[in-house]
């Protein structure tokens, strides 16, 4: 897949921030970490103007696809998340001042308690001002177009817009209409790059002591790949980081052109488990269960569900992941989901806040910690 083979290297600022004394440096919880980022510290409250300057750094201006990240940018982002995590650890007040005066708008056209809350917490822990527009109860539910909503946010001076939308490509479209950074928090059946980042972060912590890349790890992703933005983003990011990605799904739930992806594909879950380091179960949406993609929930569960017997086929250190929300008893058995040894499902949620902090920090060029 060309987007993995040749990702556009984000423009790097010639003057790196690593050794810069920032006027807004405050008591650093972890003095030995230097957070790389945008060298310029924009004055607080400059709104659009400051966002427009946030074009350098490992992420470029937006985070739309996991394919936007090359290997060094991905590693740098994960490292930044670790550093932010450590900087916050043990603090009485879980807040860093680094995005003080910057405005982050969460624009959520789909209900998503998990992702919305995670982005809100991430922005707040960096001291940004956060506004959340949910489709329900705002003008977006009254038929206002995405473009008009974008122009409204633009007029209000959003430095970053975090968008969740039920249509593929909505985040890409939004970049045409706002000057601030756009973060794709899930667009239709296309991508969910911060989910892939938190998954990579979780894998790295569990299996690589929180350092480096994922070279040589084998990640088996199971389920509705066709409709999964999580699967798309993970295929891109995890292979960029060096992992081998293997999809297991019923043939009806694999996208056209899957042979052009940098992954291997199989239909037999039992056969895939013995050499998996990570098994990631995808949620089966309720509307797919009646969509004729497979005969019944029971048959799906029998062929593609992860139960205790199948977990027994995994090698010893292997972990079990799920992006949530889970259909317990469908794609994953309750005892597997709750297995403290294998399951990372709860960690994934807390790690989500860390990687989203890193994304906002690097996009908006936050001040040093």
């Amino acid at each position: 897949m060309s987007r993995v083979d040749a990702p556009a290297a984000p423009a790097r600022s010639p003057a790196r921030a690593d050794h810069r004394a920032s006027p807004s440096v405050v008591d650093r919880a972890s003095a030995d970490v230097a957070i790389p980022g945008e060298p310029q510290v924009p004055p607080a409250g400059t709104g659009i103007a400051s966002a427009a300057s946030a074009t350098a750094g490992p992420l470029g201006r937006h985070l739309l696809s996991a394919g936007d990240l090359n290997r060094s940018a991905a590693v740098e982002l994960l490292d930044t998340a670790e550093q932010l995590d450590r900087a916050l650890a043990g603090r009485e007040v879980k807040k860093l001042p680094t995005l003080r005066g910057r405005t982050v708008v969460n624009l959520f056209y789909e209900d998503s308690t998990r992702t919305r809350t995670s982005f809100e917490l991430a922005a707040k822990r960096l001291s940004a001002d956060v506004v959340t527009f949910s489709a329900k109860g705002s003008s977006v539910s009254k038929g206002e177009s995405l473009k008009d909503t974008a122009l409204t946010l633009e007029a209000m001076g959003a430095d970053a817009v975090v968008v969740r939308h039920s249509y593929s490509g909505a985040a890409v479209r939004l970049t045409n209409w706002v000057r601030g950074s756009v973060v794709n928090a899930g667009d239709g059946t296309h991508e969910h790059p911060t989910q892939a980042l938190l998954d990579a972060f979780t894998i790295r912590r569990r299996l690589r002591a929180g350092q480096g890349n994922l070279d040589g790890l084998r990640v088996t992703i199971v389920g509705d790949v066709l409709h999964s933005r999580v699967a798309r983003s993970n295929a891109l990011l995890l292979t960029t980081l060096g992992a081998e990605v293997h999809f297991v799904a019923p043939p009806t739930l694999l996208p056209a052109g899957i042979e052009t992806w940098p992954v291997t594909v199989g239909y037999d879950l039992d056969a895939a488990l013995p050499d998996a380091d990570v098994v990631m179960m995808l949620r089966v949406q309720h509307e797919r269960m009646s969509g004729g993609f497979f005969p019944s929930a029971r048959e799906y569960s029998r062929r593609y569900g992860l139960d205790a017997r199948r977990v027994g086929l995994l090698p010893e250190p292997a972990i079990v992941m799920h992006p949530g929300p889970m259909n317990r008893g469908m794609e994953i058995a309750a005892e597997v989901a709750d297995d403290p040894h294998r399951s990372t499902i709860v960690e994934q949620v807390s790690n989500g806040v860390s990687v989203r902090m890193a994304v906002l920090y690097l996009l908006l060029g936050g001040a040093d910690l």
């Binding site: 897949m1 593929s168 239709g188 059946t189 296309h190 056209a256 052109g257 052009t260």
Partner: protein, 456 residues
């Protein structure tokens, strides 16, 4: 009123002087020097230019009645004249649908009042284009609009029994059913060609087999009942293969291909810019190659634009909610020159056949698509084949801006278009003396086509 075109090359062949009188070609003589030329009211210097029969487009959407904010018969006619067309067939997906004699006569009359091209309405096959029962096809055929082509374009006549009856019924007045070949059960929610790009972009796929299955069914039905079938906007290599086999078997089928399917591919959707959303969708490079080969070979009989104007608010949206369709009238000839003439796949006689002769015959327009010969109606287009122009959406005559060719340099500039001896377009301007509708259409874009002229 007489017009003299000096030194132009019919079909790109030897230069001639063409004298036009009373709407017909009065004389064709080898190009002569200054004083030996006949006198005429108007002279068009055709030196170095190619002369073709006026182009005929079997497939346009003029949006009137119903969506006059996107296009009108007048603005669409202006775009057609500027693109070298002398006749266009207007699809019936208007509001109300053109499924009665009254609506087709309204469209036909609006075309006559504008006078820039012959606007020939296409009638809906089924009432409201709903695919459940036949519209009054005979009444439309007998109306002043003299409808001979029927289509539910935008929708497929999917019910095989209804399609069979439609094919049979129009035999009574030598009609033809123009099918939008799309099996609806295979394209629920479809957004883009089903393939690597749709899979990657997370857009619901529109599989080529949904087109091919209907074409295969319909050529068999047409053969079974002995009626004429025309296939709209063929878009896949597989469809070309089926049509080739059908024609080899002697089945009564004709087919069209759009300029955009001859040039553009599905990877343009990577931008998620709905200006590239169209139905049927853009396909792969392999399909493009097969379509070009099919057009050169004659398996695809003609080029038709599927000119589909859309208002900005219907395109400046998320991909999934945008309306499908692209402008085509002012870029069609240039795209055919780019894809077919420059590659040597078609010569100018081939262009004349595919863009004028064949569509006029398929649609039953006896006054169009005629050879360039003495006594024939003077429906002509004068083209500068070597000039290039930059497509600028704001300079097109259409009320809408949704051209997928924006910013592209294309070869071939229309220097003049003549409809029965009247100059309808010249040097990027609609001809003088047209009615208030056309005038207002042009007044909206005073620099219509000026970009083309400037680059000559």
């Amino acid at each position: 009123m007489s017009v003299l075109i000096t030194g132009a090359r019919p079909y790109g062949e030897d230069a001639v002087d063409v004298l036009i009188e009373d709407g017909r070609i009065a004389a064709l003589t080898p190009a002569a020097g200054g004083n030996d030329r006949p006198e005429a009211d108007e002279v068009i210097d055709g030196a170095g230019l190619v002369l073709l029969p006026g182009l005929v487009d079997l497939h346009v959407h003029l949006r009137e009645p119903g969506r006059e904010d996107a296009e009108t018969v007048a603005t669409g006619s202006a775009a057609a004249a500027l693109g070298g067309f002398t006749a266009v067939f207007a699809m019936p997906n208007t509001d109300p649908a053109a499924d009665t004699a009254g609506v087709v006569e309204q469209v036909w009359r609006l075309g006559r009042e504008t006078g820039l091209v012959d606007v020939q309405p296409i009638g809906a096959v089924t009432v409201g284009r709903e695919g459940t029962r036949l519209a009054e096809l005979g009444a439309m055929a007998d109306s002043a609009a003299h409808v001979r082509v029927f289509s539910d374009d935008g929708f497929c006549v999917a019910d095989p029994a209804l399609m069979r009856r439609a094919l049979e019924y129009v035999k009574a007045f030598d009609g033809v059913i123009a099918q939008h070949a799309e099996e609806p059960r295979l394209t629920v929610g479809a957004q883009l060609n089903e393939g690597a790009v749709s899979g990657r972009l997370g857009l619901t796929g529109w599989p080529g087999v949904a087109e091919e299955a209907i074409i295969a069914r319909d050529v068999l039905l047409a053969g079974h009942v002995g009626s004429r079938l025309h296939v709209c906007h063929v878009s896949t290599a597989g469809s070309v293969d089926i049509l080739r086999a059908a024609k080899a078997a002697g089945l009564p089928v004709t087919a069209e291909v759009t300029p955009h399917h001859l040039l553009l591919t599905d990877d343009l959707a990577e931008s998620y810019d709905p200006v590239f959303k169209v139905n049927p969708p853009l396909r792969t490079a392999a399909d493009v190659a097969a379509l070009r080969a099919g057009l050169a070979e004659g398996v695809l009989d003609c080029v038709a634009t599927d000119h589909a104007p859309h208002a900005a608010e219907d395109k400046e949206t998320e991909w999934a909610v945008a309306l499908p369709g692209m402008l085509g009238l002012q870029t069609a000839l240039s795209v055919v020159i780019e894809t077919m003439v420059r590659s040597g796949s078609l010569d100018w006689r081939g262009v004349a056949e595919r863009m004028s002769g064949a569509p006029a015959r398929i649609g039953g327009l006896s006054g169009h698509g005629r050879p360039i010969a003495v006594g024939e109606p003077a429906n002509l287009v004068v083209v500068d084949p070597s000039a290039e122009w930059m497509v600028e959406p704001s300079r097109l005559a259409s009320r809408s801006r949704n051209t997928p060719f924006a910013g592209r340099r294309l070869p071939g500039v229309v220097v003049a278009t003549l409809l029965r001896g009247t100059i309808t377009a010249r040097n990027g301007q609609v001809g003088p003396g047209f009615g208030p509708l056309a005038t207002s259409a042009v007044a909206k874009s005073p620099e219509v086509g000026a970009g083309a002229v400037a680059l000559r």
